[in-house]
């Protein structure tokens, strides 16, 4: 009897130490993510990057967006990711404007991470827009999402086993009718690529009540399962919602299951600096960005190894 008790106690200690070890590993990863993302968001939304010193560092005009895409591409290459541009032209948001103005044009930044299994046919697209509105540095909207997708791309690229092809895209012109993501989604469909799902991040830098809760649009039970499991592990509350803006719409409109992760709009906990010149790095909650990144990272890692999802 006492032998059984000792064995039981040992098992309990083992389980506790494993859980503690996992928690410490999570903490280490969070600290690492936070450091990387703080540096990137600071650079991307202003301080270290300049078209003209002393001006607002928006990513709105064609020249600003081109410069931002170059900076982004270099940052991805520096992380060991094989990045390339997807240049596009796209019709205007209103057909009547086609009659007067030239087509919209821009460049998405793309990283392809192929599956490790030879029979993989389906694709998972993960994206965030990198442009901002005029006069806004867009630290929350959406340098936070850009940094998160960069971290997720690096983590997925490091996986030993992937059952899906992953495509990471940093979209241009979300603030101008989402033409970057529309052009990209239509191109993928026209190429005949089978897309399992699209995962978008738009604004994850504001959490004034520090509850860590996020808004998510999750269209299927399968995806919901993976996200809920990851959220439970990380102690994140998910508020289910439906977004009718941002880049996932371009995929949803083509019948593709599309997820969107953002700060808690549904509870009114979203940035008061939205589309303002004050959307600077000072307003960003970096711990929140890192934790939200980890949520999608975990869910996608689980999805990537899920045989049922194929």
């Amino acid at each position: 009897m006492s032998c059984l008790k000792i064995c039981g106690a040992l098992l309990l200690v083992l389980a506790l130490s494993t859980a503690l070890e996992a928690q410490v590993a999570d903490q280490d990863l969070l600290v690492q993510l936070q450091a990387e993302q703080t540096a990137f968001i600071t650079m991307f939304s202003g301080a270290d990057r300049s078209l003209d010193a002393g001006t607002v560092h928006a990513r709105s005009t064609e020249a600003e967006r081109r410069h931002s895409a170059e900076v982004l591409l270099q940052a991805l290459v520096a992380r060991g990711l094989d990045a390339a541009y997807h240049r596009y032209q796209y019709k205007n948001t209103n057909p009547a404007i086609d009659f007067l103005l030239r087509p919209m044009r821009g460049r998405n930044v793309v990283v392809n991470v192929p599956a490790t299994t030879v029979d993989a046919k389906r694709y998972i697209v993960v994206g965030a827009h990198y442009d901002s509105v005029a006069e806004s540095p867009g630290a929350d909207d959406n340098a936070s999402g850009v940094a998160a997708v960069m971290s997720i791309a690096a983590a997925i690229n490091a996986l030993e086993k992937r059952r899906f092809h992953f495509v990471f895209v940093w979209f241009d012109q979300e603030e101008d009718g989402g033409s970057g993501s529309k052009a990209f989604a239509e191109m993928m469909v026209a190429d005949g690529r089978q897309i399992h799902s699209m995962h978008n991040i738009d604004m994850i830098g504001w959490d004034s009540d520090n509850d860590g809760a996020v808004d998510m649009e999750i269209p299927t039970e399968e995806l919901l399962g993976h996200y809920e499991a990851a959220a439970e592990d990380l102690g994140i509350a998910i508020s289910p919602t439906r977004f009718n803006s941002s880049d996932h719409l371009s995929f949803r409109d083509l019948g593709i299951d599309s997820v969107c992760l953002s700060e808690q709009f549904s509870a009114g906990d979203w940035t008061p600096h939205y589309h303002q010149s004050t959307d600077t790095v000072e307003s960003v909650n970096f711990e929140y960005v890192a934790k939200s990144t980890l949520l999608m990272m975990r869910a996608l890692t689980a999805l990537s190894s899920d045989q049922k999802a194929l």
Binding site: S60, E62, Y90, K91, F99, L101, Q173, D176
Partner: protein, 130 residues
């Protein structure tokens, strides 16, 4: 000096060519509005040409008036974009100096077409020798 009639044909082909190019570009991008507009204008001009001289001249005047209006409309977009009334970065980018020049060209083409049409209507001068 180019004859008024040749000027009319030259301006007509030039301006129609510009709209045909716009229609082609947008058709490739999946937008049919500019192409339908071009086809519509072409049909109207063709019908007018087949029906008779009076309708043909009237249609050319309408086209000249449209070109002036088109140039002015583009000019108004430039003013609104530069004044910050239009929030779209694409509109601001698209209304570059080249856009201003082409808008002026459309407006100028309309005026030139109208004056060429009027000149082609004037009676020819009688020779003093005869």
């Amino acid at each position: 000096m180019i004859a008024a009639k040749q000027q009319v044909w030259g301006l007509l082909l030039l301006t129609l060519g510009a709209f045909a190019w716009r229609g082609f570009i947008y058709l490739a991008l999946g937008s049919t509005v500019p192409a339908w507009f071009f086809v519509g204008v072409l049909c109207c001009l063709l019908i007018a040409w087949l029906v008779g001289q009076r309708l043909w001249r009237f249609m050319l005047y309408v086209w000249a008036f449209f070109l002036m209006l088109y140039g002015l409309l583009r000019g108004a977009i430039v003013v609104l974009a530069q004044a910050g009334t239009i929030g779209s970065a694409h509109v601001v980018d698209a209304t570059s100096i080249w856009f201003v020049v082409t808008s002026l060209a459309y407006f100028g083409a309309g005026i030139a077409l109208r004056s060429s049409l009027r000149r082609s209507l004037l009676p020819k001068k009688q020779s003093s020798i005869s």
